[in-house]
Amino acid sequence: MVIWDSSVLFDHWDRYMQGFGQTVLASLLALIGSLIIGTIIAILRISPYRWLNVFGAAYVEFLRNIPLLVVVFFFFLGLPSLGIPLDGFSSGTIGLMVYTSSFIAEAIRAGIQAVPKGQTEAARSSGLSYVQSMWHVVLPQAVKVVLPAVGNQMINLVKNSAILGVVAGLDLMYYADLISSDTFLPIPVYTFVALFYLVLTVPLSMAVHYMERRFARSNA
């Protein structure tokens, strides 16, 4: 029995590329969406209105403590059961977006709260408005905490996007399954899948590592 054959990569390059493209697309769409939702939730959490705080906190705590698959199944199985059909790619991507937004919200909130209160007070007493002091004083300092954390979430997003394979989301995992059942060579087929994921995650990890070291130095 043949176990290894590198030619699967070249013979099925088109399908690999299709899956890779969808994996990248799902990750990017989910990233953009989760940045928007995450920022809104973070603002709710630090806003001076109690009910908004409670809503923001409940959103974050609930989503952070349940598996991504529950969220994805809600869109993939739950909505169709209510008469709203959604395909695998959409439900996987929307699930990723909603799930990741809770982690992004937490990262942004932690970043803003890492800036000492004295900074805001000094800015306010120098005559800056709340929004001005946020924009010119707090946010530029919060970026040092938020950016590496968001980078880590990007890495998680790419890895978590493999969940599209569970809901037939036409991603790398899905196409790998097709290639594997055509060739009967699962070992090389999935080894190349692993390499495709590493092509995305390793540079991201290196960027995050660089940022962390760079910002640690600027704090010293």
Binding site: V70, F74, L77, K159
Partner: protein
């Protein structure tokens, strides 16, 4: 939506059986990944020539792969070449390898954060490097790394749901099966599963918070 029908005793029992499976897999994987993580993280921290570099490379590679792929590889791909594991153990092994790599990194950075003065003082008092590691660096570092470690265990419990890909009858697999039997069961089953995961994980996250508060 028929909540009363969905929450019939046979359905609830079926979901709870899945949850029991989830807890068993999670429990074993927590133990194995902790041991693996402490060993690999300590070796990486100790900068042993060649060995530390090789382990760093393996740990970083695993950390950068989707866990779903790792579980699939152990549970579906390897069996096709003759290396057969029961799905239960495939899930435990896959989770332990991946989460072990994540914990190794937590351990490494926890050990690195131990004050250099402590290490120098221990060495100057005549402790060997191994003694310093065992009695000074590990106890101090472990205390500091316990909050992120508990967070990682929460992630592990959530990650057990990925074993649906190898059809392990854990909670999410049973939600999937139940959903297949009637449209009316989908949302109630998802709500019940969410509550089970949430209860366990939220309690653990309070433990993590308390550990964190005690350190400052």
């Amino acid at each position: 939506m028929d909540f009363a029908g969905a929450y019939s005793w046979p359905n609830l029992r079926f979901l709870l059986q899945g949850f029991w499976m989830t807890l068993q897999v999670a429990g074993l994987a927590i133990v194995f990944s902790f041991i693996l993580g402490v060993v690999l993280g300590t070796i990486r921290y100790a900068r042993i020539p060649v060995l530390s570099t090789v382990i760093a490379f393996i740990v970083d590679t695993i950390r950068n792969l989707p866990l779903l792929l790792i579980i699939f590889f152990i549970g579906i791909v390897l069996p096709q070449t003759g290396l057969r594991l029961p799905v239960f153990w495939a899930a435990v092994v896959g989770l332990s390898i991946f989460e072990g790599a994540m914990i190794a990194e937590i351990v490494r950075s926890g050990l690195s954060s131990v004050d250099k003065g402590q290490v120098e003082a221990a060495r100057a008092s005549g402790l060997s490097y191994m003694q310093t590691l065992r009695h000074i660096i590990l106890p101090l570092g472990l205390r500091r790394m316990s909050p992120p470690m508990v967070s990682q265990f929460i992630a592990l419990i959530k990650d057990t749901s990925l074993a649906v890909i190898i059809s392990l009858p854990e909670l999410m697999r049973n939600v999937q099966v139940l959903s297949g039997s009637s449209f009316a069961y989908v949302i109630p089953a998802l709500i019940f599963a969410s509550l089970l995961y949430f209860t366990v994980n939220y309690s653990l996250s309070l433990v993590a918070k308390r550990l964190e508060a005690r350190q400052t």
